[in-house]
């Protein structure tokens, strides 16, 4: 029996710092993924044309939507990855239990989401600069202010919250997959299957209803509450699942 007492918050903090260092390479993939999304976005997210009396007007629309979407996918993959065996076994090199391990993982995912979210929103600037200097963008201002302070803040907070939420889903899927590998197949089958079934029955798919619950919420404060509660629930469920597992399973 050890004579030294262990403080949970101290252990979580130490594990968080160690995990941040150990999993720091995930950020290099974040940079590559965002650069790739910027390249794809340079073709424009939409276009509009008009032709009349010997004149043609062409409008191309640009935004960092694709960068945000790619970052969300990166968040999902990162969250699933840290629940896999090699990452969990790494924990046993330190004084730990399932709860402290999960809490440090969650802190790591929150950090990753903040870095991913802020860089995704800021990628719009790089998109504008590349377009302006290399692709001869004729930018129509007035409606195209790139960084209005209020919009920038809302965009950053909302993007970070979305990524944290996606990470919590990824972490939950990863936790389920640790119980049984069957979940790896069951979750996508349930998702696609329900969409197909709802489509055949001529009603709005449940998946779309769930998505619109978050994506169509126009009140910012309500959105914050919805995503935070959902995130906490997913993380709590994941901790509960992982906590029931045997050591080194």
């Amino acid at each position: 029996m050890s004579l030294s007492t262990v403080n949970t918050s101290k252990v979580v903090k130490q594990q968080y710092i160690l995990k941040l260092k150990a999993n720091f390479d995930a950020f290099s993939s974040l940079v590559w993924i965002q650069l790739l999304a910027i390249l794809f976005s340079l073709g424009g997210v939409a276009s509009q044309g008009f032709q009349s009396d010997g004149m043609s007007v062409s409008i191309k629309y640009f935004s960092a939507d694709m960068v945000i979407a790619f970052t969300m996918i990166w968040g999902l993959v990162t969250a699933i990855t840290i629940t896999t065996k090699p990452y969990r076994y790494y924990d046993f090199s330190f004084v730990t239990n399932r709860v402290t391990s999960s809490l440090s993982n969650i802190l790591y995912l929150c950090t990753a989401s903040v870095i991913g979210g802020v860089t995704a929103v800021m990628a719009k600037g790089l998109l504008i600069i590349i377009g302006y200097f290399f692709l001869d963008f004729q930018l129509l201002d007035y409606y195209s202010q790139p960084f209005h302070v209020r919009d920038f803040l809302i965009g950053n907070i909302a993007t970070v919250l979305y990524i944290i939420f996606i990470c919590s889903i990824g972490y939950f899927i990863g936790a389920l997959a640790q119980i049984s590998k069957l979940f790896i197949a069951v979750i996508p089958v349930l998702f696609v299957g329900s969409m197909l079934l709802d489509g055949m029955m001529g009603r709005e798919p449940i998946a779309m209803k769930i998505l619109s619950f978050y994506f169509q919420e126009s009140s910012f404060s309500l959105f914050v509450v919805k995503t935070l509660i959902s995130t906490v629930l997913f993380f709590a469920a994941s901790i509960s699942i992982l906590n029931r597992m045997e050591v080194r399973k």
């Binding site: 260092k21 720091f24 390479d25 950020f27 290099s28 940079v31 965002q34 790739l36 390249l39 073709g43 997210v45 939409a46 509009q48 008009f50 009349s52 009396d53 010997g54 004149m55 043609s56 007007v57 062409s58 409008i59 191309k60 629309y61 640009f62 935004s63 945000i68 860089t119 929103v121 800021m122 990628a123 719009k124 600037g125 790089l126 504008i128 600069i129 377009g131 302006y132 692709l135 004729q138 930018l139 129509l140 201002d141 007035y142 409606y143 195209s144 202010q145 790139p146 960084f147 209020r150 919009d151 809302i154 965009g155 909302a158 993007t159 169509q216 126009s218 009140s219 910012f220 959105f223």
Partner: protein, 231 residues
């Protein structure tokens, strides 16, 4: 030109990533490398964000914004002024071309290029001065309210073999505009996400022919387009 090499650049970038993965194998990327990469990326993003704010101001050079009500009012006013022969009231910026031709025949035929669809107003002068005045008016070109009227090219007029030919501009005028849209994580809360496409306001060119008193226009084919002015 850059747009044509963009797909090649994307393919090159993808090949580069795959090659890097193959060459690197399963060796982990060092902490130092990732730290430097992330720091460099973040600095680049900050500089880009700061520069983007300056870049936005000087691309199209369009400084005037017109409201939707004013755009439709301008169109109606121009039509009224041409219909009633009150040419002096027409704003100067609406006139994009004026040509005069000496013509002393009793009749003339008007031919319009098949790809051109203007409205033609005909005003018979009180004198038989032997001069045909042709005016081209525009009610403007507005993209999301931004005034691009000065970029409209004028049609061409010529008289050959008792025919007045009205053609679109010699070279097709191309106006390319890039618009930066807010991301869905912003439009979800401040609005603007549902009306993604911007309105383009442009009406047909209006041509005014001021012809000598005794000149008649022979134009069975295009009578539909001709509108005689009642002063």
């Amino acid at each position: 030109m850059m747009l044509t090499i963009l797909p090649a650049a994307i393919v090159f970038f993808l090949i580069l990533i795959i090659a890097a993965i193959v060459i690197k194998g399963k060796k982990p990327v060092t902490l130092k490398f990732t730290y430097r990469l992330l720091l460099t990326y973040f600095i680049v993003l900050c500089i880009s964000a700061a520069t983007a704010a300056f870049v936005m101001g000087d691309s199209t050079g369009v400084k005037k914004i017109v409201s939707e009500e004013n755009i439709s009012k301008n169109v109606k006013d121009l039509e009224k002024q041409l219909n009633s022969g009150r040419y002096a009231e027409i704003p100067r910026e609406s006139l994009i071309k004026h040509s005069s031709f000496d013509y002393h025949q009793p009749s003339i035929q008007v031919r319009i290029n098949e790809y051109f669809n203007p409205r033609i107003f005909i005003d018979k002068k009180e004198l038989d001065d032997g001069v045909i005045d042709v005016y081209a008016y525009t009610s403007g070109l507005y993209i999301s309210g931004a005034d691009f009227t000065n970029q409209i090219k004028a049609p061409t007029f010529s008289i050959m073999n008792d025919q007045l030919e009205i053609n679109p501009p010699d070279n097709q005028q191309e106006i390319n505009v890039s618009m930066i849209k807010n991301e869905f994580t912003i439009t979800q809360f401040i609005g603007g996400g549902t009306t993604f496409f911007e309105p383009i306001e442009h009406n047909e060119t209006m041509i005014l022919l001021r012809i000598p008193k005794n000149l008649t226009i022979q134009d069975e084919e295009n009578m539909y387009f001709l509108q005689y002015i009642n002063k």
